[in-house]
């Protein structure tokens, strides 16, 4: 197999896996946040507005790991340094 083909294939695979695995963790975390917020709201309905506000902030913070993996995926897909290196090496 040519090195460029290999790098291309592995890059696509890695990009998919990156979002998939990164998404699992953040999804579990967000589910945890939502479940606990609902429990708190059931116990104290008066504080529901405050809890909802805090829940959104916490969710956005938890979500950031998924965003990082998305960012790395984008880098692999569109600005892959190894790909450029292999193409330059093949041209020589």
């Amino acid at each position: 197999m040519e090195p460029t083909t290999l790098i291309g294939a592995i890059s696509v695979l890695a990009a998919g896996l990156c979002v998939a695995i990164g998404g699992i963790g953040s999804a579990l975390g967000e589910g945890n946040v939502a479940a606990n917020a609902l429990r708190a709201m059931a116990q104290q309905p008066d504080e529901a507005g405050n809890i909802t506000k805090t829940m959104y902030a916490a969710m956005a913070v938890v979500e950031s790991t998924a965003i990082y993996s998305l960012f790395i995926t984008m880098m692999i897909m569109y600005f892959n340094p190894f790909w450029n290196y292999a193409v330059e090496a093949a041209a020589k």
């Binding site: 959104y56 902030a57 969710m59 956005a60 913070v61 979500e63 950031s64 965003i67 990082y68 998305l70 960012f71 984008m74 569109y78």
Partner: protein, 319 residues
């Protein structure tokens, strides 16, 4: 038996005609792509006329505004990502999209759209504060502005427990700028300046500079530097590193959220261009406001991490 008068049919005719014109414009644009400026202007004028007719039809004001919003966001999303482009995803960094060139200087997309948002914010605040009143009858815009300022102020008091007057200018600017630039994505051709890494890193650098300034103002140089050896002096490198990593995460979170919304919208545009991307666009608006809130909240937390130890009492009684 209801008899339809001819005059009624004549009244309805322009609406049907406009509807047809708008649909033809949309279909032509979908298959051909924009060929020139006149095409864009023509379809925009048709859409505006159609919108005005729809407003006259619907009597319920809430339904009217929801409809206008839906049509506008559909239009914005469909114009924004032209399906005629082969790859569909416009991943070009908006920093490098040239908007206008004046001599040797080329103004990129980020600068242009940032100035647009700044202009809109300045215009709105100028209109709101043009004639302030303290009587019973105040203008609607003044009331809206007061509620916005009051909610930001309340948030700052709740989060930092400190005098909000010192944090209000920088934190309120963050919230308003990010929120407005995320909300303005419903406008066709507008691209949020927060979807560029340069803007978000600049914001994070502002927070990074504001941290020691407010900390030293609050507790003096000695009290501020004590933050870094807080549990034990062994934690010094960790504390320094955490400052940098929190700034990095602040920048990347905002950028990634805005970019992922745009990518999701464009991928859906390739699959089903007309109605299907609408829920995602609306979700994107919601996410944008949440991100503006989160960015401001975290900035307040970072900036007021070294605060004076007596609680602030709100004498203005804003609650």
């Amino acid at each position: 038996m209801i008899k339809t008068e001819p005059s009624q049919i004549l009244q309805k005719a322009p609406d049907i005609l406009l509807l047809g014109v708008v649909f033809i414009a949309l279909i032509v644009r979908y298959f051909v792509g924009f060929s020139g400026l006149m095409d864009i202007v023509w379809s925009l004028v048709a859409l505006m006329a159609f919108l005005i007719r729809v407003c006259l039809w619907i009597k319920n004001p809430v339904g009217r505004w929801i409809l206008i919003f839906l049509i506008f966001s559909a239009w914005g999303s469909s114009v924004h990502f032209k399906p005629s482009v082969i790859d569909g995803i416009d991943l070009r960094n908006i920093d490098v999209i040239p908007i206008l060139t004046i001599g040797p200087v080329t103004i990129g997309g980020t600068v242009f759209y940032s100035w647009l948002v700044m202009g809109v914010l300045t215009l709105i605040s100028w209109l709101a504060t043009r004639n302030l009143k303290t009587t019973l009858r105040v203008s609607a815009l003044q009331t809206a502005m007061e509620s916005v300022v009051r909610s930001i102020r309340t948030q700052i008091i709740e989060v930092s427990g400190d005098n909000p007057a010192r944090y209000l200018p920088i934190m309120g600017t963050f919230f308003l700028f990010i929120g407005m630039s995320n909300l303005m994505t419903v406008i066709p051709w507008f691209r949020a300046p927060t979807a560029s890494l340069s803007t978000t890193v600049a914001f994070a650098l502002c927070v990074f500079c504001a941290m020691p300034i407010f900390g030293i103002q609050n507790a003096g140089i000695k009290g501020y530097l004590k933050k870094y050896i807080e549990p034990t002096p062994i934690m010094l490198p960790m504390n320094i590193l955490s400052d940098f990593s929190s700034m990095l995460s602040l920048a990347f979170r905002l950028y990634g959220n805005m970019l992922s919304g745009a990518i999701l919208g464009s991928v859906l545009m390739m699959l089903a261009p007309f109605i299907v991307p609408l829920p995602i666009q609306i979700l994107g608006l919601f996410t944008g406001m949440i991100q503006a809130y989160v960015f401001t909240l975290l900035a307040i937390i970072y900036v007021s991490s070294v605060s004076p130890r007596q609680p602030f009492e709100d004498h203005l009684n804003f609650y």
